[in-house]
Symmetry: D3
Subunit: 336 residues, 6 copies
């Protein structure tokens, strides 16, 4: 089996328990996450080999992060340790009509100081067939953007499939470049994208047409494929925000010709929706390496539906659990 | 800004975790609450200065209660420490079709021994424009009722708005007077009341007419204003008890001429419904000091809707969070 | 009051908290349970005397199990201590569309080594009027099946009512006998059965006819009563699996002439559904000793509906709580 | 085996975890205790039948207390339920040079309202050979003192051994009688007493002579036996308070002729010293029913030494554990 | 009473529980601390008014920090909110022969961006008689050093006593200036210093002479007073590091003429030694405002001895608790 | 670097928190351990590659165990999954004079069903230079003993160093063979042994001579080397059991000529002493691969001294932490 490689920032997530507000707590749950890592953790759980490229400080927190990745069979062999600090985020869990709240504390992180040349991408990609990154990575710093571009170039040279999740974060992109300037050449060399209406407008000023949700998604796919010739597949997830505790969830996958629409799931009560998009991306990459497009989409939607029942950033459900739901068993019965 | 002053009992709440029954636990969460304090905490959180009058024992528990009020910017400068004990209540949290259960242990509390003359109300009300009390306060003891009447009189003399929440508690009123005898002269000097059908009958034998819920609420408002000439505004909350975990929630506000009806919210899953009425009252007082009547009502309903997602007796949501919901965002999306 | 006696295995349940997956935890909640014990605990809570027959190891875990039964007024006077180990099961709590998962570790348990002659059934049944067992008991081992048959025979001789819950467990029945061979003579001496469609087919190859759920339940009752002349009453519970967090719940009771249908409850969010069938059985036994058949059924359905809100294997709700729900109060209001 | 009967108040203990101060916590551990109950729990653990007489409120807390006593095989068959509230105490755990702090909240408890005639002492004592009470019981209220005297009288009539622990509490004795007036007739009918220098002076103005600790203890024994002709045995424990975490512990037992001195144990780090005296008393009663005086003393000292390692009010060590320490094994080795 | 004012950084402390290593935990206790804040919290607990000057981010963490200070009666009226992030530190608690480990993450904090002119020191010092800072403050950034110098100057002009704790931190001082260059003019305007041998050498190249610990401390006092004419009093604490769990603790206070030596305490087991020096400084400031020098020293040593038994950065013991220990009661007895 | 390979059983440890007794808890901490795994985890932490051979059930618990080993860089590439169950042990933590108590539940484990031929030892040992096993392994079952002998034989053929820890467990060896019969041929092919006086007598009837502890240890080394010609080094640890919380700790290492004696450490308060011998063995293996004999011994004693401060079965201290203690820093100072 060929490896799936990802590049991105690992964050320590410090979250309140039991939907308490920040001012009510005197302890935090502590877990590691980060968009691209979440994607890889999920893929590793399904059984494919993965390798994560990031930068971590040379202290006990960096070491603990490495240990946690190893626990989940995420490869850590090419991580250039160093830099000042681990990026963090604080999470206040919402409920019902009160949304969760995130306070980021990721500036000046070790990952923001990763530099071109630190990674021997030819070596990293030797046994790999896929490279994944998301819009968060180039948003962190110029250095991170440079390393990401460097990786995309080598991946293309070596014939890997390159995927990206648009993942626009308004509080990043503070280093003086516009997202458009940075993202355009990068996406131009990608083959599979997880897109979104808001991000597409922010990054590329692409605004889909149509009145129904379906028309808009079709339009967005068309426009993206038109603008970026490299793109072979576009996926879009569709979340119905009934409340912080109750969502609907579905997705589409456009394969260049046809837009497949998935089953729609009704999810209540949500345990943790952070990382749902990442879990979709991870399962889609796994699916595209395993099934046909239609089934890859269904696998990805079922997997990310289940992510909403998993505490933490990363999806820890097994292939068997996903296939069970994908096969139509919505009962939630006790498995003895 | 003028201060909002409240008078009432502070209770230590000892509650079971995770919906466990009393016989299943060997520890209790410990939080401070009490109807009038909850009202003030909420107002302080929105940004107005508040002062709480109560009585607390001179021991570590009384001191901890003072510290907790300070944390929430509730003024504690006029509290006459003393008496025997802190009132308590034990709370077993329910779920689905099993309601929460409360075991009160508030008899013989320090607050029940507060005495006329202990509080210099002229001094307390110097920078204040509002005095709030609820039906719980005079229900505690003859002394508490006397102090409450004393405060209402001085407040009226000094031109403060006086508000009350009827808050009938069947397990109080044990000191030999009928609620009616005590409550009638008190409510006769109030300007804003949070009323309820059951309490109005218990206290004043007032029974609204009408077949629909709306007709009954209109009737209750009319009857109250008719009986108590001082009353300028009547608010009534309307809870739809679908289960212990799922409620609907709305309210009306009668301004002497018109009965405004609020938005109805659907709340599931409820984190903690204790103190929802208090959070409505607090937000209404804040609202009436800030918005017009219609918006004050909407602010109060939105705030108390959010209270159902906050653990503990008191509402800790910010003005911004309330205005966000009041503005129509029911999505519960993650705020990054 | 006459005693209700039960025979079965007591298990230590080790469960993950907060819907975490097995790989996410470094501690387990630890509680005692087991189908027949759950039945008795529930009956004891309603106020009838009960006695549990099982086998437990002579170590601190066995002793702790005894202490827990005493806490719940379950008689432990006839338990032959000994054998190697306490049976266990590990429980990963599910949510929404992810079902709970159980890993059994009950092989070679002390209970599996219980032997004929260890229990003086005449003595045990002296003040008793009812004996209960479930299909789990004879599924554990040949020895357990022998002791169960021994008890059924003495109970019949002494005029006790004998009840059983079919409770088919696919991962038991490993000792070389078919379930049918063992269960047929046992059920032939039972008077009250809690049956299920799947179990009836597995045990006796009985497949109900009909197209609607109601027709099938009626057919199953008819077929069972026809095959087993001793059976006077057949109960069947009917769970609607909307998700792991949301179920509907109802039951029927066939009294030999008529099939009574109960109220249907909608239960969300479920706290713990393990032991719901046992809580139905316990409340049915209590009900048949206290009410007429129709009310016994309603009591049993209401009690087991409430079980879904109780953490742990056993139902800890009081008679008053059940009768309150049975009386139609679905509001889940706070009881002060 | 004959029963040991005790009379006293059961308290709910609410304690801070991990040596936190009251103002640092938002939850409390909740455990049941009380001097005479602790004595009985310990005896039950060693294997003798015990029966506890107290009064508890008819609510969920009273019921939970009953369940906890049943768990520990403490008989609860003669408890007249009723009264207003369960007595409480709050405990802040100390460490090193900071002592633990207790805030009592036991006034107006159900036990304080127990009345003469509520208990059929002849029935209670039918199968008993020993009655135990402590100085706390008559200190609670005139009613409690009356019931205690009533019990002592019947016990003497029926030939039971009566024991008492002086247990002087300065914050009790608030009902207008001097401790001396109440205690003198009571102790005059006791046979075994656990005395202390401070309590003896407070109760009876008895001040031992001597310069060494041993001389004083000998003197105290002599003076007590001289003053109270009924007394056959006097025990005195001797705690060396090195710090809140480190104590030495020993005792003497005077049998009317000779004062036996026990082994002295060095205990560090103390897990919980509350109830150490009660555990001594319980083990002494067990010992005097089982061993000769010298060994009864050694058993009592070893048992109460081990109590310092047990969380909670009551000693939960087994007879085997005590005998192991009593036999000289101070190693604290892992027992596999 | 005049206010005590402090300037410094507030840090969020994230610590492991139960002496677990970083790689073993998935949650952290979260508490606020920081050297100068700890000093003020302690003083406020003893009853003097205090005001803390710092800078905090305008987010929920900054707001929670404000709430916590209010809880402890620490004035927060002059804090210029703003900047990027709250400084943090991670703490792994040690035991026995394994020391605790701290990972700082305080770079780029809001406090490091405090600027001259942000604070109206004349206003701040209006009702104050004392200003306290420590060597950490100028070590954070040039801006923080500038603000500190600004405060010292105004304090001197307005006649306040200025105190400092040398508090050398090797991992600070990264902004291009030597500690000596910055500290010399600052200490030149201080009146009370808490010095240490190591810090004195690092800051001022002052190396005490002498062979015994006492001679060295005397020499250090002499050298400091000689070099800095403004210094009136020098205190030095003396920790005997027997292990992470067991220390001895004493101090000296040189009043310009005489070096007072305190009682030496033996502390085992230590609950939390972080902030012990700060608690000494706080109690010393309180003591110098309350007692004579000798008693101020004894108060400070007793208070900081007790700090070792208090979880968290700040000392929460009361004046009464300190005076009890200061009076010689080392027993750690339960206070009922 | 060459790999260190170990063979043994992995156990799930379920332990009580805070020194509670079994009957006091309703949850258990859950951690993985086992003598040989503990040895390898420790070595991996110091930086050498390790590979663990065991057998685990194919369920979520087996999978979680694999994940935990990966987290600690323990190789899991040759584990033949299968069998019925994971072995367990229950641990009640002691304190002061009460020892910890272990209830084993390891019978019928997956490891006990490992079979000759399941492991390709030639492949396992390809890059290895050391094989470690302990007396627990052959004590589990005849199959486990056969596999262990098989491994020892191949290791000898391939020139690996073979080490063993005698680790006699009285509750194993239940399969009909005497320990002597099984252990003798095994130890005859070992080069490094961690011996003990008790185990040596149980296994081989070897009883050392001498009056002092040192003479006995010297004698035991001589006798072992005399009886087993293959043995090149004998280590013996020496624990002084002052209490469950306080031990002294040292060791000797006999290199065939000379017996080196280590530093003696005083350890109080112990966090967790389980696995101390394993941590000594692991550090000794690391030491013998890294230092001379004398320093290997000092490294092993310092490492295992620190283990007493680490919760769980395995030693998680770093090489740097060990060398710091080995270098004489006993202060337990905070490391900033």
């Amino acid at each position: 089996m060929k490896k799936i490689v990802g590049l991105g920032e690992l964050l320590l997530r410090l979250s309140t328990k039991d939907c308490l507000k920040f001012s009510q707590v005197n302890n935090f749950n502590a877990d590691f996450g980060g968009s691209e890592l979440n994607v890889l953790t999920s893929i590793a759980k399904f059984g494919l080999p993965v390798e994560f490229i990031t930068r971590l400080p040379e202290n006990d927190l960096g070491e603990s992060a490495i240990m946690e990745m190893k626990k989940h069979s995420v490869g850590t062999n090419f991580i250039p340790m160093g830099g000042d600090r681990l990026g963090l985020y604080f999470l206040e869990k919402g409920a019902a009509l009160r949304g969760s709240k995130i306070v980021y504390d990721r500036a000046f992180s070790s990952f923001s100081t990763i530099k071109k040349g630190m990674i021997d991408w030819k070596e990293v990609f030797k046994d790999a067939n896929w490279f994944h990154w998301s819009g968060i990575t180039p948003g962190v710093s110029q250095d991170a953007a440079d390393v990401c571009m460097e990786a995309i170039d080598v991946a293309n040279e070596m014939g890997l499939t390159v995927s990206t999740d648009f993942n626009y974060r308004a509080n990043l992109w503070n280093y003086g470049k516009s997202p458009s300037e940075i993202m355009t050449p990068m996406v131009s060399k990608c083959h599979v994208v997880l897109a979104g209406e808001y991000a597409s407008e922010q990054y590329f000023n692409i605004v889909p047409e149509g009145t129904t949700e379906k028309e808009k998604m079709q339009s967005l796919c068309d426009l993206l494929v038109k603008q970026f010739g490299s793109i072979q597949k576009v996926a879009i997830t569709n979340r119905g925000d009934i409340s912080a505790s109750h969502n609907t969830w579905s997705a589409v996958l456009y394969d260049g010709k046809e837009m497949h629409e998935s089953t729609t799931y009704d999810i209540t009560n949500i345990v943790d929706r952070i990382g749902a998009g990442d879990s979709f991306m991870g399962a889609l990459i796994y699916g595209l390496n395993t099934y046909d497009d239609k089934n890859a989409l269904e696998f990805a939607v079922a997997a990310s539906c289940l992510k909403h029942t998993i505490y933490g950033d990363a999806n820890l459900v097994s292939k068997k659990e996903v296939e069970n739901l994908m096969g139509g068993d919505l009962s939630g019965r006790v498995q003895r």
